[in-house]
């Protein structure tokens, strides 16, 4: 089966990708100015103490050995301990990352819910009022900085109308959703503008395609022609763009979480960088990179499902 072998090949490709991520993270931490020992002990540390810490951390051994030790501990799920919070990094990630994932998923969902129907409206009423209105509104959305948009939404819907909480995460899943709605909307807007433009262009291209004419010549209902022959084909390129945007969405979450005071992985990342908490930065980088790689894998699989020519 073509699809099965495609999936297998695609999963095998993950191995070198993950290895590469490990090497980059390993190198990055060692290239940063200042060494971990003096970061831990402060500026007035004694040379002897620095040496002792370095020996304890294994930093006096040759680089390949260090990498092997590092890779093995990552593989066994040990990402070390946070220097400032004195907690295992895996535990920190386990509590903070799901919040960011939920935020990102909500944002992605909101973006799609906005983009797909509006792209349809704009494309099928090309050049008319509805098209101009949709495109104009999204142009505004696209050109507004995330933090500014977040602040406006906070002021209007949070502080003034009190429909949504102004910050935090709440308890229980429903409360989480309630708390994350405004930040997710903030995050979603520019993505949905990009998706809308892309999908609108794709629909316009597909709608004049010969196979759409042929589908109409078969006497199919307009709805079937639009869903099966237009939308499905137009979605192929938009799905690819959507998958690639998830990475951007995750980094956008860093800003959004700061504006809305959400205790997610983005906030943790910013705090850890300021505190030079290298094990956390390192662990989070690996976790996020794996997350993005898996998203790309998923994107490829969806694309292969939509377009059988991909899986060759």
């Amino acid at each position: 089966m073509q699809l099965a072998s495609f999936i297998a090949r695609r999963i095998l490709q993950l191995i070198p990708t993950l290895l590469f991520i490990l090497i980059v993270v390993f190198a990055l931490v060692r290239l940063l100015p200042g060494d971990p020992a003096s970061a831990m002990l402060g500026d007035r540390a004694l040379d002897a103490d620095v040496e002792r810490i370095n020996r304890e951390l294994g930093l006096d051994r040759p680089l390949p050995v260090q990498f092997a030790v590092f890779a093995r501990s990552v593989a066994t799920g040990d990402l070390g301990d946070s220097i400032t919070l004195k907690l295992p990094v895996t535990e920190l990630i386990a509590t903070r990352l799901p919040i960011t994932i939920l935020l990102t998923l909500m944002a992605a969902l909101i973006a799609v819910v906005f983009a797909v129907p509006l792209a349809f409206v704009a494309a099928t009423r090309r050049g008319r009022m509805a098209d101009s209105a949709v495109r104009g509104a999204f142009q505004v959305g696209l050109s507004m900085p995330v933090f500014y948009l977040g602040l406006i939404l906070l002021t209007v819907f949070g502080a003034r109308l009190r429909w949504f909480p102004v910050g935090g995460y709440g308890d229980g899943f429903l409360e989480h959703l309630h708390h994350l709605f405004l930040p997710a909307l903030t995050l979603a807007l520019s993505l949905s503008a990009i998706l809308m433009r892309n999908l609108r262009a794709a629909i316009i291209e597909v709608i004049d395609a010969e196979y759409v004419q042929f589908a109409r010549a078969k006497g199919l209902r307009p709805r079937l022609v639009l869903l099966r022959h237009v939308l499905r084909n137009a979605l192929i390129s938009t799905v690819a763009l959507f998958g690639l945007s998830i990475g951007t969405l995750l980094s956008g979450a860093v800003i959004t979480e700061t504006v809305f005071a959400i205790p997610g992985a983005g906030r943790l990342m910013v705090d850890s960088i300021y505190a030079r908490d290298y094990p956390v930065v390192q662990g989070l980088t690996i976790a996020l990179a794996v997350l993005v790689s898996l998203t790309f894998l998923l994107t490829d699989l969806v694309q292969a499902w939509l377009d059988p020519r991909v899986a060759r």
Binding site: E210, A217, K218, R228, N233
Partner: protein
């Protein structure tokens, strides 16, 4: 002509709010079981004519006149009546099967959706009918190939798939828009033969749009020659080939190489067809015509019946006739 299945009357298709007239006052009939060839250079309006019959012109196009299908005007039908005619009673196949088949759907889905729209067959019967259609158009290993996608077929096989889709619901008229132009010559013959065989088996009529007079000679009963959106000559294929009455038809015939005869000079028609937005006054062909006289430059010749089933729109048809057929 009460025996006509399809009667096209004064069909006129314009684009851009009447600025461009792609099809101009075109009338013709199609009788049960016959193959009518619609011939002309590219841009002569033959494809637009076909699409106008099915109301498949782009949104910017306006179609006027009458398209009487078994006495009912297709151009005035409600959307649901039109859907019953499209694909169910009149089918259309396109020039380029690679672009006319949806690349991301298995062939089976593309056949089945036609059956679902026009028949009461249940799921199992539709699957059986799909296999039967694949056999009918000569695609071996039907069960397996139905699961494949268009890109897995060769050019000729793809055109067979398109014909299978077109024939799914037993239409009475097949509109074929240059069905063999994108194919190799040897494959062309197979596909044309297939269309003729199917016409006999299924007792349907065919309108075949082509620029290739060789194809017309091999397949059609009657032909209509189009130039710059108008029909300039009609007749049986034998009549038109033996005695072209219009200078343009004569020019077209002269440009066909024929095997088996003595080597002769291949004639070509000088110049190119005029752009539809800037047609010359009078007969649109006069700037390229060897027979043109003063009236041709000022007055539009109307299509006149010169015999039953035979008509021509040319002031100098006597001179053209006297010049003889180049074939």
């Amino acid at each position: 002509m009460t025996d006509a299945m399809l009667e096209v009357r004064n069909l006129t298709t314009t684009f851009g709010h009447g600025r461009l007239t792609a099809v101009n006052d075109v009338s013709f009939t199609v009788r049960p079981g016959e193959v009518l060839g619609l011939v002309g250079e590219s841009g002569s309006g033959k494809s637009v004519t076909l699409r106008s019959i099915m109301r498949l012109t782009p949104e910017s196009g306006a179609v006027a006149g009458q398209v009487l299908w078994r006495g009912r005007d297709v151009l005035k039908m409600t959307a649901s009546d039109l859907r019953r005619v499209r694909g169910g009673q009149i089918s259309m196949i396109f020039q380029e099967p690679m672009t006319a088949l949806n690349p991301v759907l298995p062939v089976f889905v593309q056949i089945e959706e036609n059956l679902r729209a026009h028949t009461d067959l249940d799921r199992g019967a539709r699957a059986a009918r799909a296999r039967e259609l694949m056999d009918l158009v000569g695609i071996p290993d039907a069960a397996r190939r139905l699961r494949e996608y268009p890109h897995q077929f060769s050019g000729g096989m793809r055109q067979r798939v398109m014909i299978a889709i077109g024939l799914a619901s037993n239409p009475k008229l097949l509109l074929a828009d240059e069905p063999t132009t994108a194919l190799d010559v040897t494959i062309q013959d197979q596909i044309l033969k297939l269309i003729l065989d199917l016409r006999d088996q299924l007792a349907m009529s065919v309108v075949l749009v082509t620029h290739d007079l060789g194809v017309v000679a091999a397949t059609c009963d009657r032909m209509a020659v189009m130039y710059a959106g108008r029909i300039v000559e009609t007749g049986t294929v034998a009549q038109v080939f033996a005695q072209p009455n219009h200078a343009y038809t004569r020019g077209l015939l002269g440009s066909v190489p024929h095997a088996g005869t003595e080597r002769s000079m291949l004639l070509s028609i000088e110049g190119t067809p005029p752009p539809l937005g800037a047609l010359p006054a009078g007969c649109a062909f006069h700037p390229r015509c060897d027979f043109a006289t003063a009236p041709c430059r000022t007055t539009l010749p109307v299509l006149e019946d010169i015999a039953p089933d035979r008509s021509v729109a040319c002031f100098n048809r006597a001179a053209v006739l006297a010049a003889g057929s180049p074939i």
